[in-house]
């Protein structure tokens, strides 16, 4: 490691606030890029499942086959 201590790595000779804030913002954006579509996909499938159930007259999926 280039830095001798954790404090030196955090401070980076006065540039730490700039460097770390840039990295934290990027982490936030990357997390959103990965998390948001996955959440949208799961939410959509749940909504569609609910729609199918309602259209089948409130019966759970597969129930109509048994009638």
């Amino acid at each position: 490691m280039y830095f001798n201590s954790l404090a030196a790595a955090l401070q980076m000779d006065g540039h730490g606030a700039f460097v770390w804030s840039a990295y934290f913002i990027t982490i936030g954006v990357v997390a959103m890029m990965v998390y948001a579509p996955r959440r949208r996909e799961q939410r959509f499938l749940r909504q569609l499942e609910g729609q199918i159930r309602r259209s089948e007259g409130g019966n759970p999926p597969g129930a109509s086959k048994e009638v």
Binding site: Y2, S21, M33, I52
Partner: protein, 248 residues
């Protein structure tokens, strides 16, 4: 070749393929991003002139490079959608826009943060930075344009035209530091002639650029999966998927 082209046009096939690709590509990408960032931030020497602030390069440059490359992907997908009316190309074009916007935003914000200790200012209206801001507006424009139309076929056509017209901005961004006087430094990595960056800094940078390309691919596939499901919601395979309650 044509079979593959035909297969790419099949939503269920692409949905399943993307699922199996993401299962291994996404964890590898996230690990590579963390590894590359740690390598660049903690294990390289500071820059001779800029000191430690230069370490922002490991996110700023990859984000900017991939944001530009992403625009080509969006424009090509737009052209394919316009010419061959291929549904998957339309979906890919639409999926590219928010990812490109996010990456351009990262490039602009990290560049601004880097600018303060290096140039003494957060922002200057010079050619490179302004043309990158236009790129952000182009990406956001495609997102907004699609939402503005009730008729989605018409929306796709308008977005494709906007993305094709916007390609004129890409060479301007590339050459802006050569064509105009700019605070922004010229390219350090050159395909022809020697790069002006030390190998100890170049390797982690190339590693991070690769990791950002993988991130773009993952985000593109993730966004395309949602689009595919929404457009195919009346088909039997999507309804079966919803019934199973499966999300993977």
């Amino acid at each position: 070749m044509w079979t593959l082209f035909h297969k790419f046009g099949s939503p269920p096939w692409l949905y399943r393929l993307s699922g199996s690709i993401l299962r291994w590509l996404l964890p590898i990408t996230l690990l590579a991003l963390v590894g590359g960032a740690v390598w660049g931030v903690l294990f390289t020497a500071p820059d001779f002139r800029q000191g430690n602030s230069y370490r922002i390069i490991y996110i700023h440059v990859p984000a900017a490079v991939v944001a530009l490359a992403g625009y080509y992907v969006m424009a090509i997908a737009g052209a394919v959608s316009l010419i061959w009316r291929m549904k998957m190309a339309d979906i890919a074009m639409r999926a590219c826009a928010p990812i490109g916007a996010a990456l351009t935003f990262v490039a602009l914000v990290t560049g601004s943060i880097w600018g303060k200790p290096t140039w003494g200012t957060w922002w200057v209206w010079d050619a490179r930075i302004t043309s990158m801001l236009i790129l952000l507006f182009l990406y956001l424009g495609v997102v907004a344009l699609y939402e503005a139309y009730e008729n989605k076929a018409l929306a796709a056509k308008a977005c494709a035209i906007l993305s094709l017209v916007g390609t004129v901005n890409i060479p301007i961004i590339y050459k802006s530091v050569d064509w105009w006087y700019s605070l922004h430094q010229p390219a350090s990595i050159k395909f022809t002639g020697g790069s002006t960056i030390d190998p100890s800094m170049l390797y982690p940078l190339l590693f991070m650029i690769t990791a950002f390309y993988c991130l773009f691919t993952c985000a593109l596939l993730l966004n395309m999966r949602v689009e595919i499901l929404q457009r195919e919601q009346r088909t039997a395979w999507v309804r079966a998927l919803a019934n199973k309650g499966a999300a993977g």
